[in-house]
């Protein structure tokens, strides 16, 4: 089989895995030839569905002995199978890298023959890259669940980041959809990797995982709870969420007519995850057993604010950074701008606009010159309505714009 055909099959088979950012790594190892990793993640191009392409993301092989129902590569699917040789893939990576097509390699594989055999092939590819080509760039390796501790150790020493997809947030769903996997086997490689890097007391290796959204009936609460636990146990740097793509049919799988709501749910989960990691929110502040799912129409911060109006309105001239970033529509950057600017003057709503901070949402949650805005009363239902109403387009500004009225002499 020609490299062309292999690449098209093996890139196609890997594309549903989203955990692929190269950001947040820095140069830790020196092999001395080609390559460096960049701190903030570089996108080299964007696909026609608008996703960032940063890494050469392929499978070493799409043959697999497992039969996970959501996976396009499961053994029971009748698909064209292909494999790269480790050397072939290493060369391809270097050639792509030096033309600046990619930041590095994201390598994963279906399970060929058995777990350890597969892991060994992956390691061979990494060794060629690191030792023969002296490649110092980014390599993300998916650890094969169930492979031996020794191999995981070697893999961790060669890769920039490792991951193992837990795929589904609960054991119950795993049993249903991926009967050959269990929470123990999918988490196993991550636990081994964490313990190894703790023991060596060097900088811990970066780890991440992926959860599929919408293939099982787990709620957003379940999902965010699982993510939080993984973050807290210092297991993971990132959790990725991937809206289920309907590639197979199966008795246990949901039938999804169209993917738009699911993509939106994925997006809301990413936003919520962001709040967990950078905004100091806890998962049980955002959701609880009563309110199990995020609102698809409101971003999670606005959703939280509406349920916790007791914290509002906030005086932007007095609030701490922690309070500022909890205001809907104000991000970390905005909060820093406010903190910086208010050293020089007392800020009002117009000042925020001048600083290019959007006040569309924020204006309902802050005090402007010590006063709360008068259009909408501070009640959940009223605010929700105001925040959800489509932004005034053609007609409304004409009706209320005084300048326009003066010009035309009409209303």
């Amino acid at each position: 089989m020609k490299t062309f055909e292999k690449l098209s099959i093996l890139a196609d088979s890997a594309k549903y895995d989203v955990s692929c950012s190269s950001s947040g790594s820095d140069e830790r190892i020196k092999y001395g030839g080609i390559g460096a990793t960049h701190n903030s993640g570089i996108c080299h191009t964007f696909t026609s569905d608008g996703r960032c392409v940063s890494l050469l993301k392929v499978l070493l092989s799409n043959s697999c002995i497992y039969d996970c129902s959501y996976c396009i590569n499961r053994v029971s699917n009748d698909r064209k199978r292909a494999s790269f040789s480790p050397r072939e893939l290493a060369k391809l990576t270097i050639e792509f890298y030096k033309r600046n097509y990619i930041e590095g390699l994201f390598l994963s594989s279906g399970i060929i023959k058995n777990e350890d055999y597969t892991m060994e092939l992956l390691i061979t590819c990494l060794k060629i890259l690191r030792y023969e080509y002296g490649f110092d760039g980014y390599v993300h390796l998916k650890l094969i669940p169930g492979s031996s501790k020794e191999l995981i150790d070697i893999a961790c020493s060669l890769a920039s980041r490792v991951s193992s997809n837990i795929e589904l947030p609960s054991s119950k769903s795993l049993k249903l959809l991926a009967p050959q996997k269990s929470k123990e086997t999918v988490l196993g490689p991550l636990i081994i990797a964490r313990d190894l890097s703790l023991k060596k007391s060097k900088k811990p290796i970066l780890m991440s995982t992926q959860m599929i959204i919408g293939a099982s009936d787990d709620s957003d609460f379940d999902i965010l709870k699982t993510a939080s636990i993984l973050y807290e146990k210092a297991l993971l740097k990132r959790v990725y969420y991937s809206a289920y793509v309907h590639v197979n049919v199966g008795a246990n799988l949901p039938i999804i007519p169209q993917s738009t709501p699911l993509l939106r749910r994925e997006n809301r989960l990413y936003q919520a995850d962001w709040l967990l990691r950078f905004y100091g929110f806890k998962y049980d502040e955002l959701l609880d057993t009563q309110q199990q799912n995020l609102d698809l129409n409101l971003d999670p911060k606005t959703f939280w604010a509406l349920n916790h109006l007791e914290h509002f309105p906030i005086d932007i001239n007095k609030a701490s950074k922690e309070q500022l970033i909890r205001i809907p529509g104000i991000g970390i950057k905005g909060a820093f701008k406010i903190l910086k600017a208010r050293r020089y003057k007392t800020l009002n709503l117009e000042d925020l606009a001048k600083l290019k901070i959007s006040t569309k949402k924020a204006k309902y949650f802050i005090l402007d010159r010590g006063k709360y805005q008068k259009e909408v009363p501070l009640y959940k239902e009223n605010l929700q309505l105001a925040l959800l109403s489509p932004s005034p387009k053609l007609i409304q500004p004409l009706l209320f714009d005084e300048n326009y009225a003066a010009l035309s002499g009409e209303i």
Binding site: S48, D49, N100
Partner: protein, 242 residues
């Protein structure tokens, strides 16, 4: 007074010199190229390297590092005219460095935002530059950008392509960053001939296209979103879009 200078960084430093040593009060600043279209009088500032050096050394000594660097970054934003703001920035900076972080002053805010825009472009170009391999094994890239990001690209790729020689060629500005075994330098490109690609080049750029197409998820096609991230003007030299 209206003044006109040659548009170079040295020239601008001489404008600063004129303000401080010749006590010229400035209303408007033009460059030769923007001024030729207009027909009123203006005082011409001659570019003088000694004056420029003097100003630069003073700035270096009196300005905090980040404030000093901002001046050079702003000057690389060569397609916008912010000389007035930059002059105000320098004048304020000499009074008190504290002013330079006060984003409630419009000119300071403008420069802060411009600097951010500059670095967004730099960051984008880190990803969007495409090299081709030439006959002799060297790598070659063409760029056309709104601001002059070449010095930053050069530095970035020196780290990344430690074992390769390469040239990044800024077509519109007629500049090139050249890295060889012996040296790294910026050069002015007077004329050039389209170089010959290596025999492998077409093979790998085709593989890249294959990869680019296979990773797209057809069911979620969203060309508009794609265009937000990679506006058409960046695509000229990106092989996957040709």
């Amino acid at each position: 007074m209206r003044i006109v200078y040659d548009g170079s960084f040295e020239g601008f430093l001489c404008v600063v010199y004129a303000v401080y040593y010749k006590k010229i009060r400035i209303q408007e600043i033009f460059t030769h190229s923007s001024f030729s279209l207009l027909s009123f009088d203006a005082y011409e500032i001659q570019t003088d390297t000694i004056q420029a050096k003097k100003v630069l050394n003073t700035l270096h000594a009196r300005f905090e590092k980040t404030h000093y660097e901002r001046i050079t970054h702003i000057f690389l934003c060569d397609s916008v005219h912010v000389e007035k703001e930059l002059l105000e920035y320098i004048i304020l900076g000499f009074k008190d460095q504290k002013y330079l972080e006060n984003i409630t002053i419009p000119s300071i805010f403008r420069l802060h935002e411009l600097q951010k825009e500059f670095f967004r472009l730099v960051h984008k170009m880190y990803g969007f530059v495409r090299f081709v391999e030439l006959e002799d094994g060297n790598l070659y890239a063409k760029i056309e950008t709104k601001f002059n990001v070449l010095p930053f690209l050069g530095k970035h790729f020196c780290k990344r392509l430690a074992s390769n020689n390469f040239i990044i060629h800024d077509i519109k500005r007629k500049l090139a960053f050249v890295k060889s075994e012996k040296s790294t330098q910026m050069r002015v490109v007077q004329s050039f001939e389209e170089p010959t690609h290596s025999s492998d080049e077409a093979h790998f750029s085709n593989l890249w296209k294959v990869f680019f197409q296979s990773v797209a998820i057809k069911e979620r096609e969203n060309k508009k979103l794609q265009q937000n991230f990679v506006p058409l003007l960046y695509r000229k030299y990106m092989s996957e879009f040709s």
